[in-house]
């Protein structure tokens, strides 16, 4: 009996949810970065984990102008009053968008999307034609600005499937660097564009041309599975790694210190 219980406990310690994996993977990718522009959710966990492990100086900056947040409890939404409580700075919107974002102070912008193409252009606007949408999505918000102004962009898509990873977007809300340069070569661009896409199947990385290629698969996922889930002929990086599982310490931090009431750790 005792042995069985110990085994189950051991198993529980070693198993992890998709959110925990994505948070741990994102955290590792953030190593060496300083200023992360992101909303609430997975990026919050990733930044919090980075702060408590590899990157104590990493800082999350919010679209609302909050910098150096020290919320007395884990914020439930981007509109959580606790984000303002005890923050180091709350900047005005013109300062946040004009000076901080456009001024080039962001190392990593985190974005999500309904659709992504092979160079990292994102659609958050519509499914179907803009003038007669099948599904109206929220729209850009600050995504166009985050894409154009961050030194690099991480995209997190929890569902890797051919409807999301498309050959051609229904609408290009936030263009990849390649798309921006092609459309308007005289408009200055900044940084590297989308360098990293983190999904439930693996991690895609941009090659030197900006094309997103498979760099690693999560444990138990095959390359063929990822290819089948991608709406363009997915190229592979020279060597595909298997994503390392979250370490016991990462899991402990996430579960016990960062999100003990499992607000985001679904």
């Amino acid at each position: 009996m005792i042995t069985k219980q110990a085994e189950r406990m051991e198993e529980a310690r070693n198993s992890y949810t998709a959110s925990e994996l994505l948070a741990a993977v994102s955290c590792r990718l953030l190593q060496g970065k300083r200023r992360v522009f992101a909303g609430i959710g997975l990026p919050t966990l990733a930044v919090a984990l980075a702060q408590k492990s590899s990157s104590p100086d990493i800082e999350q900056i919010y679209e609302s102008g909050v910098c150096g947040a020290h919320p007395p409890r884990l914020p439930e939404t981007i509109a959580d009053a606790s984000l303002a409580t005890g923050a180091e700075a709350i900047l005005t919107m013109p300062v946040l968008f004009g000076y901080v974002l456009q001024g080039g102070w962001i190392d990593v912008g985190f974005l999500g999307a309904a659709q992504i193409d092979r160079y990292g252009s994102l659609n958050t606007t519509v499914i179907g034609p803009w003038h007669a949408p099948k599904v109206r999505l929220p729209g850009s918000g600050g995504a166009v600005e985050v894409m154009a102004n961050s030194h690099e962009v991480f995209v997190v898509l929890r569902r890797h499937n051919p409807e999301s990873f498309v050959d051609k977007l229904d609408f290009c809300t936030s263009p990849s660097l390649a798309a921006a340069r092609k459309a308007a070569p005289k408009v200055p661009t900044r940084g590297l564009g989308v360098t990293t896409v983190i999904t439930d199947l693996g991690v895609l990385k941009a090659d030197e041309t900006g094309e997103l290629c498979l760099a690693s698969v999560h444990e138990g996922v095959t390359v063929e599975q990822v290819r089948a889930a991608t709406g363009w002929p997915l190229r592979l990086m020279e060597s595909i790694t298997v994503t390392a599982a979250p370490t016991p310490e990462e899991l402990r931090l996430l579960r016990e210190e960062i999100d003990p009431s499992r607000v985001y750790l679904r």
């Binding site: 939404t77 919107m93 456009q102 850009s140 340069r181």
Partner: protein
């Protein structure tokens, strides 16, 4: 100092008219719900609603039939559901469609900035390669006069007829103070021809004048100031009440069914008669669980030699 205090009813009926371009602003914080409800109550029609982030209050205004056009950058209800009244009005096959004009956050904010600054346009670094300029002729590209090899996108000035915002406090002459997340309230107030400000409390002008840097809109740029406690509910007012997340989570279900939505508007906006009635219907102790622990700012010294 001119007294600019109005009742909410008078402020809306005197300053907002059918067909106006009305900006309701507040970015996640201090969203002017009570003002939106009063617009619905007074049956104002054919509005062009400008709002960077149309959310539940916009869904309510669209659902109530007040809006014929929406100028916006992001329309959603965080991660807790859709705004179905807006979706019904803009998705294919809509029975009562509304026109939309779409930006990114900084695109629309820069329109307010240009409008406030009296310049024809404001440059912005993004939009190259986006499909947005293809559906919005207000996103244009110009060449820098300082370097013919450099182009930038620009957006035109926007000057709404009326700006409506909510803040924590003001004096009777309309000097408005706010803290926490500030949103585009200052920009839209200066950009608009008329400005209505709802506040949690009207305070003595000595309170305002003890901290003049906290004033985000000076009295001269305000046409009406309305004392309206809890007027941002279900949104929040830093230091007064937190966000009512339960309400946000419940909205999708109401908004999804047109009949349910109509019923909700009847019950919570029309039948309650006014904001006091709305609070009354919420019940006596409703805000207890949303009331913050006090964490006061360290005072600073504005003194000078006498």
């Amino acid at each position: 100092m001119t007294n600019k205090q109005f009742s909410l009813q008078d402020a809306v009926s005197e300053l907002v008219s059918d067909g106006d371009v009305v900006a309701l602003e507040g970015f996640t914080h201090l969203i002017p719900f009570a003002a939106g409800h009063e617009i619905i109550r007074q049956g104002i029609r054919d509005l062009t609603l400008v709002r960077m982030t149309p959310d539940i209050v916009a869904d309510q205004l669209v659902g109530a039939g007040c809006v014929s056009k929406l100028i916006f950058a992001f329309t959603g209800n965080s991660s807790v559901g859709s705004l179905y009244a807006i979706r019904r009005a803009v998705e294919n096959g809509s029975v009562s469609p509304i026109e939309i004009e779409e930006y990114s956050h900084y695109g629309l904010l820069a329109r307010y900035q240009a409008g406030a600054s009296g310049v024809p346009f404001m440059p912005i670094r993004s939009y190259a390669g986006s499909d947005l300029p293809g559906v919005n002729p207000n996103l244009k590209r110009v060449t820098s006069p300082f370097d013919s090899e450099v182009e930038t996108y620009v957006v035109p000035a926007l000057n709404p007829d009326v700006a409506i915002v909510h803040a924590q406090r003001a004096d009777a002459s309309g000097n408005v103070q706010s803290w926490g997340i500030l949103g585009p309230q200052q920009e839209v107030a200066f950009a608009s021809r008329k400005t209505i400000v709802l506040v949690e409390e009207i305070v003595d002008d000595g309170v305002i004048r003890s901290d003049p840097n906290r004033t985000i809109i000076p009295g001269f740029a305000v046409d009406a100031v309305v004392e309206c406690g809890y007027g941002a509910h279900p949104s929040f007012a830093q230091g007064y009440y937190d966000r009512d997340n339960d309400f946000y989570r419940a909205w999708s279900d109401i908004s999804k069914d047109p009949q349910k939505l109509e019923q909700w508007i009847q019950e919570w906006i029309h039948d309650v008669g006014n904001h006091a009635g709305y609070l009354n219907k919420l019940g006596n102790n409703y805000f207890e669980r949303l009331t913050p622990v006090a964490l006061l700012s360290t005072p600073v010294n504005y003194g000078s030699v006498l």
